[in-house]
Symmetry: C2
Subunit: 250 residues, 2 copies
DNA sequence: CGGGGCCTTGAGGCAATTCAAATTATGTGG
DNA sequence: CCACATAATTTGAATTGCCTCAAGGCCCCG
């Protein structure tokens, strides 16, 4: 951003750098090294699988555009979404260290993904300790988010769960500079249900109730905010667990 | 283990090495380096806090004996336990990379903890990449456990939740060589409730039902197994998410 | 204009909660 | 070793949040 703004902003991996910088400081030299990483661009349609439980890979994925979910299944086929990834997020950084996948990764809409070879990342980590630290920070913030999801599902009622889920997504998108006030989320109510540990029917009823509370609107399959401040309150959302240096005013 | 078994087994940090070796391979030289780490021993009574939300520290804690919980609170004071730590587990390794704590750590019984300075660990990581990798693996396995807890709380009924929770603890304890068949867990039903997203009253009723199913017994405030194999089935427990090289037969 | 997702609504049921109180353990000091 | 205080477990009764099952409607897309 400081050294060569134009080159930086145009670069496909710019959102990735921005994400890393939310939690860690990276010098210009580090940033340049990341942007110089060799990568392959992957285009995927909505609802295509990127990684399966048990897979092993030799590259890491970074989401460039679109939306991706991580989920796990019970043996009875019940689904729990464990994370929603937005542009800039690394999707499977952990497999730089752990060989086998234990979750599923699937696109929620048409998405672009950067594939970076493990070897290239490892070499970079070795050369640039600050980058290694940034990657690990990214993983650890994700872990903090996993914990927050556990308390969300375990200790909040339907309305608060949904509100918290939406608040987090909005906060993270804003921190990444995605969208402004009027956020459109391409999530079906089935997805919200699987992310919050509810059924789609109950999500529907709860969203209706939130609409009549003037908290949000659900026109045309997308969720639009009416009052994010109150949604946060309802969701008992406090951004501290995100360890983000992005200050979200309003 | 290979080089100097006696010295190794007697060493207070031996369980820590064993824990790391569950997920990563460490050479003898690496092991020796870990055992040579300078540390201070801390003794704590039951129910004393080790770390508070918002704290920042300059050392890492490793549990040597006893039991520790990690939890988070909603703004309404509802508690969700996010992890149970057993001897050998590092408790707050993430603060090697992230400055501020976002959870609470509390002993569940009289415990011994090793305090290792961040600087010492960082120096070791630099000197021994295999150890750095092992520490990160440990963090990533913990993250996988967090995700499993989310699906447990989000997508399983009371009986399965409790069974899964117990199965995981037993599995991990066995992998660490703690106890044999007859496991005694010093957990109150309030703790089980806070770990599974239930109320203590319902945990009580569910445990009673499990007793009459001949799954377990709850004599004297401790939970004893009757049939761990069936408890695992009831809990839909599959150890794969633990990424452990410990083969648990039976 | 027809079909398949997705959303919506209703009725009924049940798992888990809430509130309250009794009982049983656990621990402590005299 | 007993008496007392406190914590933990147990039980009951009533309630409710969320689920299940089922059907109907909407809307996008070919």
């Amino acid at each position: 951003m400081q050294s060569d703004p134009k080159h930086f902003d145009d670069h496909p991996l710019a959102p990735f750098v921005q994400r890393l910088r939310l939690h860690c400081s990276l010098g210009d030299a580090d940033v340049r090294e990341i942007l110089d990483l060799p990568f392959k661009k992957l285009n995927r349609n909505q609802y295509s699988h990127l990684l399966r439980d048990g897979d092993s890979t030799h590259h890491c994925m970074v989401l460039l555009s679109g939306l991706v979910e991580r989920y796990r299944l019970t043996s009875h086929g019940e689904r729990q979404i464990l994370a929603i990834y937005i542009p800039g997020d690394p999707l499977d950084l952990e497999h730089l260290f752990i060989p086998l996948a234990d979750d599923w990764l699937q696109t929620l809409r048409r998405s672009e993904i950067a594939l970076i070879e493990h070897d290239a990342l490892r070499a970079l980590n070795f050369r640039r300790p600050a980058i290694a630290t940034a990657l690990i920070c990214s993983l650890l913030v994700d872990a903090s988010i996993f914990r927050e999801w556990t308390i969300n599902v375990g200790r909040r009622n339907a309305k608060a769960r949904i509100a918290h889920f939406l608040s987090e997504l909005i906060f993270r998108m804003r921190a990444q500079g995605i969208n402004g006030k009027d956020i459109i989320l391409p999530l079906t109510q089935y997805h919200i249900a699987d992310a919050t540990g509810l059924t789609a029917v109950h999500v529907n009823r709860t969203l209706k109730a939130m609409q009549s509370d003037n908290l949000l609107s659900t026109k045309g399959g997308a969720i639009r905010s009416i009052d994010w401040v109150r949604i946060r309150e309802v969701g008992d959302f406090n951004s501290r667990y995100l360890h983000s240096n992005h200050e979200d005013d309003e």
